[in-house]
Amino acid sequence: MWVTLQITFLTLGLGLVLALPISFGQVYGNKWIKAFIAGYEKVLRSIPELVILFLIFYGFPRIGVRFSPFVAVVLGLGFRSSAYQSQIFRGAINSVSSAQMRAARSLGMTNLKGFINVVLPQAVRIALPPWTNEFTIVLKDSSLAYALGVTELLRQGGYIIATKYEPMLIYLTVAAMYFIVTLIINRGLGSVEKRLAIPGFDVKETVR
């Protein structure tokens, strides 16, 4: 369980760190930056997570960098997550209408001031529900570390089964643990969402 949570948080953090500059580049960058980022997102979104993990695990040793399966998992899932998170942030920034920016400028704000004071507070609220969703996806995808031999929750379950032959019971328990964590994430971030809610500023939720 601990390993699973570690993978989840590290992945999410790496994804976040990468996604912020990527989404800014996509919104405010020049043509070349935009095209590069679009390609990066497209590729990472089109290849199965497992394949990304294998490519990183087997690919980096080729250029002389060697790391544990755990690090490979975090890198692989982190890259993948950055592609999704950047799309969430970009969508959020774009969905704050340009009229808002125009109004900010009309008050004498600079572009940066307008972004920080007007666009960002709205964008964060828009991005929160899909980001919560991405959080739970990363949690679930952390189970893919199983394939690289990392002893996370699912594999731990497998080891227990090897000693006591009760696969149904144990995998159901594993499922329940994932479910409870998902529930906690949803509830927790959901209450943040509520606390930030502004009357008349409704946010539509997207699934998966």
Binding site: Y171, A175, E205
Partner: protein, 223 residues
């Protein structure tokens, strides 16, 4: 590059076979998932307390747990209870149920985005609730949900790669088999990555053409 080409030339029947299984699993699971999704969505939106409760519980539990765990439950968990599924069957069932729950949620969002004046107008003509759902609500909800389904198809296509872990002979399994003989793991997976990329881009294009075809003015997509 050369090595990758060699891999393709030497192993194309295996890769093709694997891709075939991947696509087969994806399509079967999406179709069965569609049926499951429609039933769950209608139950969740229009059902009485009991149906609402059941469908909500199923959807939330499936969406709240990893697909891989679900596959393990089906493949490793069932045999001791006397139910033996082939890897292919276990994978298909797992994917179909999983996808069904996600499809149900897309569809629910779509149904709820349809103004309730539509239901009222239908009932005012003397339609039964069932007629109103079938004739008025569903045709709009299903159309609106197509882009979300495109996404779902792509997701499932990618997630079928998990099936190799329970031993279904799809693309990843073939890749592993090939790599275990020539030890060129990186090159083999790169080839597989490119295959997935091409297939995904192909379907994305295909679906966006389909979307245009069934588009109706004023019925914007729900994504």
């Amino acid at each position: 590059m050369e090595r990758m080409w060699k891999i393709v030339v030497e192993n194309w029947p295996k890769l093709l076979e694997g891709l075939g299984v991947t696509l087969e699993m994806t399509m079967i699971a999406v179709v069965i998932g569609f049926v499951i999704g429609v039933i769950l969505a209608i139950a969740r939106v229009y059902g009485n307390k009991l149906f609402y409760g059941i469908s909500t519980a199923v959807i939330e539990v499936i969406r709240g747990t990893p697909l891989l765990v679900q596959l393990f439950i089906l493949y490793y968990g069932l045999p001791p209870l006397g139910v033996n599924l082939s890897p292919f069957m276990a994978a298909i069932i797992g994917f179909a149920i999983n996808s069904g729950c996600y499809q149900a949620e897309y569809l629910r969002g779509s149904i709820q985005s349809i103004a309730d004046n539509q239901m009222k107008a239908a009932r005012s003509l003397g339609m039964t609730k069932r007629q109103a759902i079938l004739q008025v609500i569903m045709p709009q909800a299903l159309r609106r949900v197509i882009p979300a389904w495109t996404n779902e198809f792509i997701y499932l296509l990618k997630y079928t790669s998990l099936a190799y872990i329970v031993g279904a002979p799809e693309l990843m399994a073939q890749a592993k088999f090939i790599a275990s003989r020539n030890f060129q793991f990186f090159e083999v997976y790169l080839v597989v990555a490119i295959i997935y990329l091409v297939v995904v881009l192909f379907f994305t294009k295909l679906f966006s053409m389909l979307e245009k075809k069934v588009e109706i003015p004023g019925l914007e997509w729900v994504r």
